[in-house]
């Protein structure tokens, strides 16, 4: 409990590579170190459902702001995205935005180069490291949806970008929405403050429906491997990270929060695919995970995407003085012990502690930019991403996966250069214990 964030962070960075420090050394100071009242131009990259939500919230976060450019892999999605956002914020869309609507896999670079101040990164997460890097290198403020990467080389890249952004004073703000929700902030402040005593065990579940996605897209009406996979991105590990890294990562994020953002020493996990069809790529549909922290705290996480099964998204933290039970969706946050109720979260007499984290993440991001103190939440977002990846990899390989093994894994899922016409057949589903699952990591 007494472990300070800084020392943990140093260990974490040290454990990665020596290059992170080297890359970050000599970066010039940029202009963002003082209050800023200029009109901020936003580049929106990735126009799917969450991206559409995020741009809506970003435009609501500040009065002197406009949507300046759009980047999407697909024309139809870019146009649909623009139509949607026009309805919500007609006055905040640049009149000439259509001229800066870029389509294709390299659209992100064109958006970054189009004169924007801020980029909103909401493509499938496999692209995130590359997009974060390009945006940070160009000195842009970044809002990045979770998760931050889908493989270890991606994590390494993002870590370097985070350091660089910190040095140059640009924002990196994440979409781990519960971190921006007051109910969770109130709750975890108490946990970290010791209200539950020493933590012993943490449990979370993210059991949900399978939700058939992309019913309109298949091998027949897509031309190439990459187009096929992009249209159905959730089902491919290189693009989404698998549902534990893409979705249940919210729960893993809260587990890390309770542990003051310390990455567990190792993960052991089971997982598999019991009810996914051929068109559903190579991700799993269930995981059961044990995380072990260096001080002996253990974390148990279950996630499932199957229809007609038990659904539950619960958080529990067990400490020497009591336990926390939470269900984020219902804003239920309770501390209790043998004697009964210790504390129950409430929104306050006027509901002032009730907020929409999706909005607050943007509100706080822009307020900080205006203040001249841009936020950089990169460290915790990448730690959470790495932790979810440890769990996924422990299940995929059947191995006990330590933090160091994961950080130094050589398995690169996302190609350096991606094009629609490249040869890139979908990878087979991984089976625990098999060479195909283990060897690419470079583990002996």
């Amino acid at each position: 409990m007494s472990k300070h964030t800084d020392s943990t962070r140093r260990d974490f960075i040290k454990a990665s590579t020596a290059t992170a420090g080297a890359a970050a050394i000599a970066f010039p100071n940029v202009t963002f170190g003082k209050p800023n009242s200029a009109k901020l131009k936003i580049g929106w990259i990735g126009c799917g459902g969450r991206g559409s939500g995020a741009i809506n919230q970003a435009l609501a976060a500040d009065s002197n702001i406009e949507l300046h450019a759009i980047g999407e892999a697909f024309q139809d999605k870019a146009e649909a995205g623009l139509e949607r956002i026009k309805k919500y914020h007609p006055g905040k869309i640049s009149e000439s935005v259509k001229k800066r609507m870029f389509v294709g896999i390299d659209a992100y670079q064109k958006v970054i180069d189009s004169g924007v101040d801020v980029v909103l990164l909401a493509t499938p997460p496999g692209f995130r490291p590359q997009h974060i890097k390009a945006a940070v290198d160009a000195g842009k403020h970044v809002f990045a949806e979770k998760p931050m990467a889908t493989d270890a080389p991606g994590v390494q890249s993002v870590m370097q970008s985070i350091e660089k952004a910190k040095k140059q004073g640009t924002s990196i703000v994440d979409g781990f929405v519960w971190r921006w929700t007051y109910a969770q902030r109130d709750t975890y402040e108490k946990i970290l403050g010791g209200d539950l005593g020493d933590l012993q065990a943490i449990y979370s579940s993210y059991n949900n429906n399978a939700r058939k996605r992309y019913v309109d897209w298949n091998r027949e009406n897509t031309k190439t491997d990459v187009e096929y996979m992009l249209r159905r991105w959730y089902y491919f590990t290189w693009l989404s990270g698998d549902h534990i890294v893409e979705q249940a990562v919210h729960s893993i994020d809260k587990m890390l929060w309770a542990k003051n953002d310390e990455v567990p020493a190792y993960a052991v996990a089971n997982g598999g695919r019991q009810n996914r069809g051929e068109e559903e790529g190579n991700i799993y549909d269930h995981f059961g995970v044990e995380f072990a922290w260096a001080d002996g705290t253990q974390g148990y996480h279950f996630s499932r995407q199957m229809d007609n099964c038990e659904n539950g998204v619960w958080d529990r933290v067990y400490g020497s003085k009591g336990k926390y039970t939470g269900e984020s969706g219902r804003k239920l946050h309770v501390f209790s012990n043998k004697d009964g109720l210790m504390w129950r979260w409430n929104a306050g007499p006027n509901g002032e502690r009730s907020n929409n984290g999706y909005q607050t993440e943007h509100d706080e991001m822009y307020a900080a930019i205006r203040d001249g103190k841009p936020l950089n939440t990169g460290e915790r977002m990448i730690k959470t991403t790495l932790t979810a990846m440890m769990a996924r990899t422990a299940a995929y390989t059947g191995k006990k996966v330590t933090k160091e093994m994961m950080l130094n894994s050589k398995e690169q899922l996302v190609p350096d250069k991606i094009s629609f016409d490249m040869q890139f057949p979908p990878r087979a589903v991984r089976h625990a214990g098999r060479d195909e699952a283990i060897k690419p990591h470079g583990w002996s």
Binding site: Q274, C309, S320, A432, R434
Partner: protein
């Protein structure tokens, strides 16, 4: 809850009654309630590896016993077992050719052959049937875990152990850790408050496959479905119960032990099969999450896949400390060191207890105590807790297979009867359900839940 269906409350009562009885050593006087020094004849049903071990241990447990009859479906296995035991225990084996019974009904013949005690070590699917017959015939019983492979079987076992109690018959279950001196001390200390209130336990049973299913082309044309399935019993839920119920049930039993053999309220489980297993229908991995009183949790990770991380440890967290089985039996209080690399490294100078008492072979101790209890007229009956642990494993499997949150009473009253009706070795037909897909009608409907 209707009165005519078994329920959780009844288990809680049964558990506490047994605990009280065991701790005060005041058993009621029963029919067999007086010292017994006669020669005891042993019948042995199911002569595989574990069974042969158990028979040898039974013969080592008491000087005035003999192996009297054997039952098996495979003559070769019976002979090989008999040879093994005869070598180890010459002079204690008296299994005339006439009392070597072969076939699915061999158990009846063993029970009718004049034995006093039977060892039930066939594949567990048969256990409820054999146990019932043995109790009805008034025999003392050693039975291997698990006690059943489905809820109807378990309910039958519950009735049988209660009848055994009335009749004063010994019922000793092969949940061997219960007879291990170190674990007894370990769990007693925790029950006495060594780590405060127990909040969670994580039990691991990560191993390789046990008896993988051969492909269909290895099936002899002569073999009926029943013979084929019994020969490959581990791979069929009706016969072996699944890896969770057959093997990881040892870990489930320790969770049950820790929580005072009081049933969990409910559980949720995720799992499946990664490696194809020919026509077998069991899973190769599952993770179960049991909910107990006061919100305490029992987590179980089980896997039978080659090339993976192996582990068979237990980790327990309480409000005032921690305990682990793994690298010894260890309990620490608040002064546990914050280890750097191994999360369960403790300060040797701190508040630490490590078991240093005698070891002993728990498999032998089971039988030593079984025979001693018969001799002194207070036969042991492990019925309540063996049913609790088996039912917990079954509910974990049911939660995994169905995908549902399963309460104790839902699991206990499940109507899913896996046992094949056509029990004919030569001609028995039986098509077991396919590997379970959670959330599907096929997986859920057989339980008869409203």
């Amino acid at each position: 809850m209707k009165n005519d269906t078994p329920n959780r409350r009844e288990f809680i009562k049964a558990g506490s009654t047994a605990a009280v009885a065991a701790s005060t050593l005041s058993f009621p006087t029963v029919t067999f309630g007086k010292p017994d020094s006669r020669k005891l004849k042993i019948g042995f049903i199911g002569c595989g590896g574990r069974g042969t071990g158990a028979a040898n241990q039974a013969l080592a447990a008491d000087s005035n016993v003999e192996l009297w009859a054997m039952g098996e479906v495979s003559e070769a296995r019976l002979k090989s077992s008999l040879t093994n035991i005869s070598k180890r225990k010459p002079g204690m084996v008296n299994v005339d050719k006439k009392r070597q019974f072969i076939g699915l009904d061999a158990y009846k013949k063993v029970l009718d052959s004049g034995v006093d005690l039977v060892i039930l070590t066939t594949p567990p699917g048969f256990r409820p049937l054999h146990f019932k017959a043995a109790v009805e015939a008034g025999k003392h019983i050693f039975l291997e875990k698990p006690m059943a492979t489905d809820a109807p079987g378990l309910r039958s076992v519950m009735e049988s152990y209660k009848l055994a109690e009335k009749k004063g018959l010994a019922v000793v279950a092969g949940f061997c850790w219960r007879y291990d001196p170190g674990r007894r001390e370990f769990f007693k200390r925790i029950a006495d408050g060594a780590i405060g209130d127990v909040q969670s336990m994580y039990a691991t049973y990560y191993t390789g496959p046990v008896k993988p299913m051969p492909p269909d082309n290895k099936r002899d044309e002569e073999w009926s479905d029943i013979e084929w399935q019994v020969r490959n019993w581990y791979n069929f839920a009706w016969c072996g119960g699944d890896g969770l119920v057959e093997q990881a049930v040892h870990s489930v039993d320790k969770i049950s032990w820790l929580f005072g053999d009081v049933p969990p309220h409910s559980c949720v489980a995720v799992g499946g099969r990664q490696r194809p297993n020919n026509s077998g229908n069991i899973w190769d991995h599952i993770e179960v999450n049991y909910l107990f009183d006061q919100g305490a949790r029992g987590f179980l990770g089980q896997r039978q896949i080659p090339g993976c991380h192996g582990e068979n440890n237990d980790y327990i967290h309480g409000t005032k400390g921690r305990a682990q089985i793994g690298g010894g039996l260890i309990i620490t209080g608040k002064d546990a060191i914050k280890g750097e690399t191994n999360n369960w490294t403790y300060n040797p100078n701190g508040d630490l207890w490590r078991y240093t008492g005698p070891g002993g072979n728990m498999y032998q101790i089971e039988h030593d105590e079984l025979f001693a209890s018969i001799r002194d007229g207070h036969p042991i009956n492990n019925g309540a807790r063996m049913c609790n642990a088996t039912m917990m494993a079954l509910m974990g499997r049911i939660a995994g297979y169905t995908g549902k949150q399963v309460t104790w009473d839902m699991a206990l009253n499940s109507k899913q009867d896996l046992f094949p009706k056509d029990q004919n070795w030569e001609t028995g037909k039986h098509t077991p359900p396919a590997e379970a897909i959670p959330g599907t009608k096929e997986a859920i409907a057989p339980h008869g839940w409203a």
